[in-house]
Amino acid sequence: MDLSEYKDVFAAEAREYIQTLNDDLLDLEQHPHDMEVLDRMFRGAHSLKGMAGTMGYEELQQFTHEMENVLNALRQGRPVDVEIINQLFTAFDLLEILLEESLEHGEAKTDTTEVLENLRSWLSQEAPSVQPDFALGELDKEEIRQASQQGEQAWNIRVLLRSNVLMKSARAYTVIQALSRVGTIVQTSPPMADLEEERFDNEFSVLLLSKAAAEDIKDIFDKIPEIDHVTVAELDMEAAKSPTQSQAATTKRRSEHFVRVETDRLDKLLNLVGELVISRTQVLELGAMLDDNTARGAIVQLDRVTTELQYAAMSLRMVPIRQVFDRFPRMVRDLAQAGGKQVQLRITGQETELDRSLVNELGEPLVHLLRNAVDHGLESPEERLAAGKSEVGTISIAARHEGSHVVIEISDDGRGMDVEKIRQKAMEKGLIAPEASLSPRELLDLVFQPGFSTADNITDISGRGVGMDAVRSAIQLLNGSVELATELGKGTTVTIKLPLTLAIIKALMVRARNEIYAIPIQSIQENILVPREKVKTIQGEKVITLRNQVLPLLDLAAQLDAGALEDKNMLSVIVANVGQEMVGLVVDELLGQQEVVIKTLDSNLASSPGIAGATILGNGQVALILDVAGLLQQEKTPYRAKAQ
C-alpha cells in the first residue's frame, strides 16, 4: 500500500497528539489525580502507536508503546510524582524528535536507549496493588449492600482479550451478555459506552452481583472465544474510588464535525477568490459606464456575493492563536526552572483567530519576547520579596481582536526598564547625539534599534531587549507593529498589532512616474497637498512641517529607482507611519482605494527592500505593493546618529 498520500494527515495528527500529550502532562502535574487527563493521555499514546505502526515507523511505534505502558501503570493507580512527570516530559521531547525524523527519513535514528531504560526501570519498580477502577456512587454502594443481604456477592471480574481480536466491542458484549445471565451487572470499567465504541485496550472489568461462585463464573468464559485471561475476585468496596467529577463529566470530546483539508488546497481556493475579486473590480468599472439598470443591479449583486465569498474564504484560513500559544506553558515552565524563577503564566484570548500564515510566522518573535520576560523581565524570588512583591512573578499573554487587527500583549510584573539608562546606553553606542532631546517614548523605541543591546550587557541596563530589533523586523514583515510600555519596578508590556490576514489587503493606489503602487491602508495616516516652496532641507534631507512636527519626505519614484517625479507646484504627499515613525511619501497621483490580493514575489525579487509583494489590477496591469516599514528602514530618520 502506498502510504505517502496519508503522510501529511499523519504528520498533522501526530503533532497534534504530541501537543495534547504535553498539555495534559502540564495539567497532570497540577492535578495528579485527574483520571480523565490520564485516560486521555493513555488513549493519545495508544492512538499514536497505532498510527505510527500503520505508517511503518517502527522506532516511533516502539517508543510510544513504552510510553503507553507507563501511562497505563499510572492509570492503574501508580502514584503520579515529580520523577515520572519529568521522565515523561523528556520522553515527549524525544517523541517529537523521533516523529520529525521518521517523517523526513522514514526512520528515526536518535538514540532512545537512555530514556527507554529509565521508563522501564520505573515500570519494573514494585507497583502498588492494583485497585479496581470502578467509581462507586452512593446508589451503587447501596445496591451492593442490599444484594449482599440477599446472599449475592460483588465480583470484580477482569477480562483480558486476546490481542488479535477483530471486534473487541462485540466480544466485550458477548462477555457482558453471558455474565448478565448469572447476575446483575452494576458497572463496567471502562464504562459500557466506551466498551461499545471500542475505547479500551484489550482489558476491561465488570462489577457483577451474583450468587454464583467464583469457579462457576470462570467456567462461563470457557464458552466464549477470544478470551486470553480472566480473574474473578471479590470486590473490595473500600478500595473502589468514589466517582470523580471528571468521570461524571464523561469523555465527550471532539464530537464536532471537522474535515481536514490540505492547506495547499485552501490557498488555491483563496487565490482563485482573489482573482475573482480582481475581475469583480473590472466588472464594476465597466458597469459604471452602463445605462442599463438591470445589468447594474446584477453587477451590484455580483459585487455583494463576491465580497461575502471573499470573507468566507478568508475565514477558512483563520485559525485560533492557541496553535502558537499552546507550547508556551511548557516553555515558560522550563525557562523558569532553568533561571531559578517562579512564574505564573496567564493566557487569555487563545481562541482569537487570525490568518494561518501569520500564525506560522508569529511563534518565533513571541518566544523571543517570552524568553526576555522570564530571563530579564522578572526578578529572582529573593529580589521580588525584597521589593515587597510576591515571589511568584506573573507573565500574561493576551490576544484579542481590535477592528481588523489582532492585538497580542505580553506583559510581566517584573523590574521594568529604566529610561535614563537607555539614554546613556544609546549615547555610548552612538545611536543618538548627546544633545538630542527625546521623549520617553522615543527613548524606549531605541530598544528596537539594531545593535542597541547585546547579551553581555543586558541585565545591568534594563532586563529587556535582547534581539528586540529582530522581533520588530519580524513583526513588520507581517505588516504589523510592536510597541513597548514600561514602568520602573512595576513591569513591562510589549504590544504587537497585526492585520487579520495577509492575503487580501485594502490599499491606496498611487502613481509615481509610470508605475502604479499599492500602499497598505493601515500604514497610511492621511494624504495632503503641499506647495513645493514649503519643502525645506535639513541636514541634507527634504522635510516639511506638518502641524508643528517635522516630517521627512521620501520621493517614491527616486526611492524605487523609477525616475524623477513630474515637476509640479503642488506635491501629493502620503503621510505614512510604522509604529512611532512617520514619513511623507511624495507621489504623482492618487488613484483611489482598492482591495488588492497579495501575490508573493518570485525569490529573485522577494528581497527588494520596500516591496512587500505585487498585485494584479483590474486591467491586468501589475502593481507593486509597498512595504512602508522597509522603506523607512532604508531611509534614515533624523534622530538617528548622522555620524555613522
Partner: protein, 141 residues
C-alpha cells in the same frame, strides 16, 4: 426425544474415515456461493457436517425449520431478508437455536444487534479457520 432423534438421523461419517460418529450439523447462510464454499470446506475438515445452505434470510428460516441443524452460520447483509431479521425469526421459532453471525469488519453495531437478537457468537470476515472452529466448538462443543 428430539435430541436423540437428531443424533440418530445425522450420525454418519462425513470424513469417510470412520473417525466421527456423531457429527454436529450445520446450516450455512451467506448470499455468496464463494463464502458458503469456504465455510463449508473449513467446517467439514473439522468433522462438522453441512446439511444445508441458504442464500438469503427467507431461505434460511425455511431451511432451519426443515433441517433443524445444530448450528447456523448467518451472514448479515443479504437480499430479501437480512441476517438479523432471520435470526429474530429463527429464535422465535426455536429459542434454543444456536446461531453464529458472520460480519465484515466495521459492522460492530450490526453484530451487537445480532447478539442482542439471540446470536450466540460472531465471526469477522475475512475468516481464519482457527477462529471459525473455535467459535463452533464453544457454541456446540
Amino acid at each position: 426425544m428430539h435430541e436423540y432423534e437428531r443424533g440418530g438421523v445425522h450420525s454418519h461419517d462425513p470424513m469417510g474415515n470412520g473417525a466421527i460418529a456423531m457429527a454436529h450439523t450445520i446450516l450455512v447462510v451467506d448470499d455468496t456461493a464463494f463464502m458458503r464454499m469456504m465455510i463449508k470446506n473449513v467446517v467439514q475438515k473439522h468433522g462438522y457436517q453441512v446439511i444445508g445452505e441458504a442464500g438469503d434470510g427467507e431461505e434460511a428460516i425455511a431451511k432451519y425449520k426443515e433441517l433443524r441443524p445444530d448450528l447456523v452460520t448467518m451472514d448479515i447483509t443479504m437480499p430479501k431478508l437480512d441476517g438479523i431479521s432471520a435470526i429474530k425469526a429463527i429464535m422465535e421459532f426455536d429459542p434454543n437455536a444456536k446461531i453464529i453471525v458472520c460480519s465484515a469488519m466495521g459492522q460492530k453495531a450490526m453484530v451487537i444487534e445480532a447478539l442482542k437478537s439471540g446470536a450466540k457468537d460472531f465471526l469477522v470476515k475475512p475468516f481464519e479457520a482457527d477462529r471459525v472452529i473455535e467459535a463452533l466448538q464453544k457454541a456446540v462443543g
